[in-house]
Amino acid sequence: MRILVAEDDTDTAEFIQRGLGELGHNVMLAADGLDAMHLITAEQIDLAILDRMLPRLDGLSIVRRARAAGIEMPVLILTALGRIEDRVGGLEAGADDYLVKPFAFSELAARVNALARRKPLQSETTRLEQRGVVMDLLKRQVSRDGVALTLQPREFRILEELMREEGKVVTRTMLLERVWNYHFDPQTNIVDTHISRLRSKLNEGGKPDLIETIRGVGYRMATDA
């Protein structure tokens, strides 16, 4: 993927560039907002990572201008302060996701992957199926190998997120945001407890574990071995 990283702090920019490069992405750097805007309009870019505060033109203005110009690539906003204003403003401006600095690189990588896949999934999916697990999103029903499971609403949502990402890592923070709509980090790890309940329901009867834990990062659906 061709990814634009607009970040005025060179350390952070290089850190992101190196990390994403190792994952096989082609990363372009822009040190200020106008450069970033120029690259967005001139180049074919698959995904943009924009710092909220950039010299000359801030991240939100870039998103607004790009959207106004009909450029639809996914945008991830980086903000130094996790302020409510930043969160609301960023999404209203047309960004797809935002991440508060400082962040773990694994978190950024997971979000980049999620954003890259989001497009085709936006068509209304009503049925998800992976390795014998079938989810009917309309009837809110789940079954594994034909056996119906009773999941709590939040367990259902977690499984849905994992299935949608199809083997990609979903981080704890992403689950907190998407399932609970919490943009803060409770000390209690409610995600882990819910995952363990979900896991035990899914694996009932000694079936192989389908949810893989990526230590310190998050979870993913085990891919076909």
Binding site: I84, W180, D185, P186, H194
Partner: protein, 455 residues
């Protein structure tokens, strides 16, 4: 002392005084003019009547009778001393003794020469008796002038007296205003000078000045509170950051000489702690600034509380404590869902952290009048009574809890969030146990459809 010219107090007082004096002067002039016109009219009607009488006399008795009447009148000594004259067309005076030349017709002011006083003025009525004879009846306007002179003198004295009084009043008013204002500015100077506890003197009058002083004092209290808070926070941050940073340093030092990868991993988690501490501090500051109110929406508090309880019950259970909840359906408030959730989570985590295993934590949401009350109550050991008032302060921790994790920011955030929503956080020792209650002004019943979930 400031110059009078630059003093607003004196300016106001003297402006007031000037307006008053000008009003008085205008009034005087109007009275004088009206009076002058009235007196002149009276004189005019006197001479006109007299002239008419003589004309009648002339028409009934002829020239002889007229001459006689004039002689009789001039001889009598009436108080209003009238003068008469009948003139031939060539200007010669035929009868009477009016000492002036032949005048033109009509009502008028005539200058004549008085034997005793010299040049003088009179109001006169001049009519033609026949083509040959012209009658003048005049009255000396001396007394009118006298009256007018007296009035002017009296009025001037009164005016000067009033002005002196007004001036004195203005000086008094000006100095009074200045004194009241000066006491406020004097206190402000003292505060600028560093005496931050100094307050404006509030008098017993309950007037605008006292009100202003009281308002300023409230403002100063608030500012002082904020300053105190700031001072406290900066020293606490400095203090509370030293511990994790020192620990971090030790880890890294150990890593440099031994198992690097394990030390780095530990160091990262240490740094994450520090970062989350900062996030909490910043969040509290953001909430206290109150700017986020513009993102307020209607929040279904019943749904939020149920969802929280359901989400946290499993992990509470894992910690060998029990979470029970009872949530009244259909309660909504206007606010920020995320902040409310964070505040309630903090209360839950607080209860979980400070109770022994086997404790029961109860979360209840009920309507109390116009408020929604969410309370988290446990049956643990409670909090030493002396510590109750201060545990919502940032970094405040109960001494015996120094060993448990946390930075003492949880209740502080909950308190700030409650205040942001125009509610409050109340902490109470329940003997046994401890309860934290957030009271929030709730929306009228109809705004959210009743929804029931949970146990």
């Amino acid at each position: 002392m400031r110059k009078w010219r630059s003093s607003a107090a004196y300016k106001i007082a003297f402006l007031n005084f000037g307006a008053y004096a000008a009003g008085l002067a205008v009034l005087g002039v109007i009275v004088f003019v009206v009076m002058h016109i009235a007196f002149t009219r009276q004189l005019d009607s006197m001479v006109s009547d007299e002239a008419q009488t003589l004309v009648d006399e002339y028409h009934s008795g002829g020239d002889g009778e007229l001459a006689e009447a004039i002689i009789v009148r001039e001889a009598s000594s009436s108080p209003t001393h009238m003068m008469y004259g009948v003139y031939a067309p060539d200007g010669r005076r035929i009868h009477g003794s009016f000492p002036a030349a032949r005048p033109s017709l009509g009502l008028q002011q005539i200058a004549f020469r008085d034997d005793s006083e010299g040049p003088d003025k009179a109001r006169a009525r001049v009519v033609d008796l026949s083509p040959g004879e012209r009658l003048v009846v005049a009255v000396d306007s001396d007394w009118l002038e006298t009256i007018e002179r007296i009035i002017i003198i009296i009025f001037s004295i009164a005016f000067i007296g009033a002005c002196l009084l007004g001036f004195a009043g203005s000086v008094f008013l000006g100095s009074y205003l200045r004194r009241r204002l000066y006491s406020i500015s004097h206190s402000a100077q003292a505060i600028i000078g560093g005496d931050i506890r100094k307050r404006m003197p509030v008098g017993p009058h309950r007037d605008e000045f006292d009100e202003l002083a009281a308002t300023l004092n409230r403002m100063l209290d608030r500012i002082e509170g904020l300053l105190e808070n700031l001072r406290q926070v900066s020293s606490d941050i400095a203090h509370d950051l030293r511990t994790p940073l020192a620990r971090l340093r030790n880890r890294l030092e150990r890593g440099a000489s031994g198992d690097a990868s394990a030390a780095v991993e530990e160091a990262i988690s240490q740094v994450d702690d520090v970062l989350s501490l900062f996030a909490a501090i910043l969040r509290i500051a953001e909430v206290e600034a109150g700017e986020t109110r513009r993102f307020f929406r209607i929040v279904d508090l019943s749904a939020l509380a149920t969802e929280l309880a359901e989400s946290f019950a499993p992990s509470v259970e894992e910690q060998k404590r029990t979470l029970l909840w009872s949530v009244e359906p259909g309660i909504s408030v206007t606010g920020d869902r995320e902040l409310l959730a964070q505040a309630f989570v903090n209360l839950l985590e607080n209860a979980q952290r400070h109770t022994p295993e086997g404790s029961v934590i109860r979360l209840t949401l009920v309507v109390a009048g116009r408020s929604a009350c969410l309370s988290v109550r446990d049956n643990g050991p409670g909090v030493p009574t002396g510590d109750l008032p201060r545990i919502t302060k940032r970094f405040a921790r109960v001494e015996s809890n120094r060993g448990t994790p946390g930075y003492g920011l949880g209740l502080s955030l909950a308190d700030a969030v409650a205040k942001l929503h125009k509610g409050r956080l109340t902490l109470r020792n329940e003997k046994p146990g401890f309860s934290a209650t957030v009271e929030l002004p709730r929306n009228p019943d109809s705004s959210v459809e009743g929804r029931t979930r949970g146990n």
